[in-house]
């Protein structure tokens, strides 16, 4: 590669050998990652577009796989259950965004100060985030017990017995909200850390200057903290939204999409189509749609960040 860049006569010979050695070393260092990405990410990604346009079943059959064009997409878009699942994850997103990001923001504000036991406190608030979703399901599965589980007892106690026990996971009106609660509790820790870093990124001088100008704490918060956190807000909202659209584990374990399909999600719908009904082509079409949704959200983030010129 260097041969074209530099006239051979200029470089002393050992230099050229070193350049070549360096070239191969660099190739050797970057190749493992690129190879793995090519095999395990790019190939299945491209395959999913192809598979989505065939009638391929999960287990190979003697009949040849046929190209069916956009038939799978047409079927997905005419299946009411797909629209239900898309609406469900949208509903989930709308609820989980304020709960989870709000929790993350508030805890980050609490923790962003020099305190005794600072690391301990941060660690405690971060604990749910390192708890596996399966474990979270074990815990909240017991909390949600109907009719006399802990959460119902607390609700009953706080309302003085006015509110009847709620069938958290069994009532179609409540099931998705229950999933929101446990999801926000499990995941707010990461967003909290991102907010903490965002808060650390705001220069102290801005606060000092505002204070000298006589700005109250509330005004300092509104005119220094909030503008300084704008890119952080965008980032947090976007990753939470993307995460929300991929909702799967807690639903698969606790409700299997029920009751009455009130917690069916796009990924759960895809996995069911692919592995229970064995329609790989159809499931791939759903996965392509999921990718497009995530891509749109990511593009929106870029646009928003540009506008705030970060």
């Amino acid at each position: 590669m260097t041969l074209q860049e530099t006239p051979a006569a200029v470089l002393p010979r050992p230099g050229r050998r070193r350049d070549r050695q360096r070239f191969w070393q660099e190739v050797g260092m970057i190749a493992p990652a690129m190879l793995l990405l090519a095999i395990f990410l790019i190939t299945p990604f491209l395959l999913s577009f192809w598979t989505a346009m065939t009638n391929q079943p999960l287990v190979p059959r003697p009949t040849p796989v046929r190209f069916v064009g956009l038939l799978n997409f047409q079927r997905v878009f005419t299946d009411p259950l797909f629209w239900t699942s898309l609406w469900n994850v949208t509903r989930f997103t709308i609820w989980v965004l304020p709960v989870q990001c709000g929790l993350a923001f508030l805890t980050a504000l609490l923790l962003h100060q020099k305190l005794p036991m600072q690391n301990l406190l941060r660690g405690l608030f971060f604990l749910p985030a390192i708890t596996s979703m399966v474990v979270v399901c074990v815990i909240w599965g017991t909390l949600f017990q109907y009719p006399s589980g802990p959460l119902n007892q607390i609700v009953g106690f706080l309302s003085g017995g006015l509110i009847q026990p709620i069938d958290w996971l069994g009532d179609p009106d409540w099931a998705m909200f229950s999933i929101v609660l446990l999801s926000a509790w499990q995941a707010y820790g990461f967003q909290m850390i991102i907010y903490l870093a965002g808060l650390q990124g705001i220069p102290d001088e801005l606060y000092d200057a505002a204070r000298i100008d006589g700005a109250s704490a509330l005004r300092r918060f509104w005119h220094v903290t909030m503008p300084g956190l704008r890119p952080t807000h965008v980032f947090v909202l976007v990753i939470t939204t993307i995460q929300a659209f991929k909702l799967y584990t807690q639903v698969a374990i606790l409700t299997q999409g029920g009751p009455k399909e009130s917690t069916e999600t796009v990924v759960h719908y895809m996995v069911r189509a692919g592995f229970e009904e064995q329609k790989l082509g159809y499931a791939s079409a759903v996965s392509v749609i999921l990718f497009v949704i995530v891509l749109l959200i990511a593009l929106l983030q870029r646009k928003l960040l540009r506008r705030f010129d970060v």
């Binding site: 596996s132 074990v138 006399s148 802990p150 850390i193 991102i194």
Partner: protein
């Protein structure tokens, strides 16, 4: 001095040092109280796992007894900590640990080498590769999983450790995190080493790696948590006990007619321990580096 953005009480004057320290301790304890409420479900899990009577566990839960055990016993743990049979949670735990260790260590090496070349290498197509890595970051795991399962079963990898490790070693996110970390180190570092005749790999190994502890810690925690919590993928590619990770095994409790909450809780505590250790070991570097890099992405 960094202060709580909302706090009413943080006067500039340093002369009020004493009352300020007192205030800080009060603040600390109130925050501690909030933290304890937030993690009370975890504490409840631990306590319940030490109780013998399955029915008592549920009965206790609505009251303060959820946080107290008069006669702690390890019998639930003894029941499930086998290496074969129906409740082979010792084995599942080992499987998950093996997968985690191999994934994280190879991931650290593979992704950091690539990030290093992208930051300081002299390869021609570097900029294109970097753009590719950033673009690949958008693809969610869930949307490649269908064809990937078929690829893996055609390759005869179903029910192996390899199938749970190989696909997740290289990751656009971690390549990018390392790239970003290396790129912000001073240029002189690279040039000086190069003048001394060090090869690219040597510069990477002896100069850049020792300087990148914060990045290594961040990626270790993120990769570790990710690998430990994998659920969808292993349910699709494991069918027998042989390589089944603990997350999948715990979920099978929910498929049973009556859930053995006592065992499920003991298994859950077992599952929390390793990742807790990982976090404690690396948390010192976590906040500062994870975040600085993530927000700009």
């Amino acid at each position: 001095m960094s202060d709580l953005a909302l706090s009413q009480a943080a006067p500039l004057a340093k002369s009020r040092g004493n009352s300020k320290t007192g205030l800080r301790i009060v603040q600390s304890f109130s925050i501690l109280l909030i933290a304890l409420v937030m993690i009370s479900p975890l504490f409840m899990l631990l306590i319940a796992s030490l109780k013998d009577d399955r029915f008592q566990i549920l009965a206790d839960m609505g009251s303060f007894r959820a946080f107290w055990v008069s006669e702690p016993t390890l019998s639930n743990y003894k029941e499930i900590a086998n290496f074969s049979g129906e409740l082979a949670y010792g084995r599942y735990l080992f499987n998950s640990l093996a997968i985690l260790v191999v994934t994280v260590i190879s991931g650290l090496i593979v992704n950091s080498m690539a990030g290093f070349v992208l930051a300081w290498g002299s390869l021609r197509g570097k900029a294109i590769l970097l753009a590719l890595v950033v673009a690949l970051y958008v693809i969610p795991q869930e949307s490649i999983i269908m064809p990937l399962v078929v690829m893996m079963s055609r390759a005869g990898l179903t029910d192996t450790f390899a199938v749970q490790i190989l696909p997740w070693v290289a990751s656009p996110l971690y390549v990018f995190l390392f790239y970003q970390f290396f790129a912000q180190l001073p240029k002189e570092l690279y040039e000086a080493a190069e003048m001394d005749g060090a090869s690219a790999f040597r510069i990477y190994r002896s100069i850049y790696m020792p300087l990148s502890l914060p990045a290594l810690a961040t990626v270790s925690i993120l990769m570790g948590i990710e690998s430990w919590n994998q659920y969808l993928w292993p349910t699709l590619v494991t069918q027998t006990d042989y390589a089944r990770p603990i997350a999948v095994a715990i979920a099978t409790f929910f498929g049973q007619d009556s859930i053995y909450w006592d065992r499920a809780m003991a298994a859950s505590v077992l599952m929390m321990i390793p990742v807790l250790i990982l976090y404690l070991a690396f948390q010192r570097w976590f906040v500062s580096s994870f975040v600085g890099s993530a927000v700009k992405g």
